[in-house]
């Protein structure tokens, strides 16, 4: 199944350097329409105002965490099917389970490489 790489991707992280890294890695795998948000609240506002084919979010943010953002997305009738990848340094099993129970599409643990990012995006978008 071919993936539409012209889709809008929203990346969410409170660390601007990390946003820059993910944006550049996405660019290298030909996702050029990338928007950024620095916390869950800003991300939710952008998602509700726009049309996004994929969300890639960090977990540890304030005031709204990545997990809370995921729960909000899954509770929103228009957004609930949006693919959502969590990228986080949290690698405890209970975190992964909590994210899965909240409806995460995939989970990438930091530090990650470009190949992992590409593979998870293809897997998630291939299931849409």
């Amino acid at each position: 199944m071919s993936i539409d790489k012209s889709m809008n991707v929203l990346i969410v992280d409170d660390y601007k350097t990390m946003l820059r890294i993910i944006r550049n890695l996405l660019k290298q795998i030909e996702f050029h329409n990338v928007e950024e948000a620095t916390d869950g609240g800003e991300a939710l506002a952008k998602l509700r105002a726009g049309q996004f084919g994929l969300v890639i979010s960090d977990w540890n943010m304030q005031p709204m965490t990545g997990l809370q953002l995921l729960q909000e997305v899954r509770a929103d009738a228009r957004l609930k099917t949006t693919p959502f990848i969590m990228i986080t340094a949290e690698s405890k099993a209970e975190n992964v389970v909590a994210a899965k129970q909240a409806g995460v599409s995939n989970y990438i643990v930091k530090p990650f490489n470009a190949e992992t990012l590409k593979e998870k995006i293809e897997k998630v978008l291939g299931h849409v």
């Binding site: 660390y15 350097t17 990390m18 820059r20 890294i21 550049n24 890695l25 660019k27 290298q28 977990w59 540890n60 304030q62 005031p63 965490t65 809370q68 986080t88 340094a89 949290e90 690698s91 405890k92 099993a93 975190n95 992964v96 389970v97 899965k100 995939n106 989970y107 990438i108 643990v109 930091k110 530090p111 990650f112 490489n113 470009a114 992992t116």
Partner: protein, 212 residues
């Protein structure tokens, strides 16, 4: 007489239980116990009295040790200085990382003008630099955990000193202590785990697959 003293002591002990225990209050209880033990003492009461006296000496020694700690230096200077140094490390590494990323983005731009193997080689190189630069996020999170721990220690030390200061000047929390509130962090997680205790991506993939 003995019963009356015992009743008074129990009443004082009950009052102390209601209040915040301080070294002064503990000393008061010890003195009350000793005052009920005047007169002829049995062997059992003598042993008890010796233990109470030992407790009093231990409290006095603890107070002396805490006074010798020079906690003002720790809370007003050492810990704030250490946290400032760590904050500066995060700031400098972030700045250096952004400089590296800027150069990398320039190289990416050049790669679009190249063809074939040269473009691919340059792209592979810049990808590896982007991947490596994510160290800054991880080290930043680790350092923030250390800063948070130092501030928690700062708070605990001040609390112990104020508990034992008994009428002397009670230490006020330093500015760095007031910055920290556990409730503010309650929604957050623990940050990166140490490599020996962390799950790898393949473990996480297996765990996720177990739900399917």
């Amino acid at each position: 007489m003995y019963e009356q003293s015992q009743t008074m002591l129990e009443a004082r002990l009950a009052a102390h239980r209601q209040a915040q225990p301080t070294a002064a209050k503990i000393e008061g209880v010890v003195r009350s116990v000793i005052s009920t033990m005047r007169g002829d003492l049995s062997a059992h009461e003598t042993t008890l009295l010796a233990e109470v006296e030992e407790l009093g000496r231990t409290i006095a020694a603890a107070k002396a040790e805490i006074a010798a700690l020079q906690v003002d230096d720790i809370t007003d200077s050492h810990i704030p200085s250490a946290t400032d140094e760590l904050d500066a490390i995060v700031e400098h590494t972030a700045s250096a990382t952004n400089a590296i990323l800027e150069v990398c983005e320039t190289l990416d731009g050049l790669a679009t003008e190249l063809m074939g193997a040269a473009a691919e080689t340059l792209n592979t190189a810049t990808t590896r630099i982007y991947e490596a630069c994510s160290f800054q996020d991880i080290t930043g999170q680790r350092i923030n955990k250390v800063v948070f721990t130092l501030k928690a220690i700062d708070r605990k030390v001040a609390h112990i000193v104020s508990t034992f200061s008994c009428g002397e000047d009670v230490l006020q929390p330093s500015a760095s202590m007031l910055d920290v509130s556990l409730s503010d962090e309650s929604g957050l997680l623990n940050g990166p785990q140490l490599p020996m205790s962390a799950m790898g991506q393949s473990d996480i993939d297996k765990l996720l697959a177990s739900f399917e």
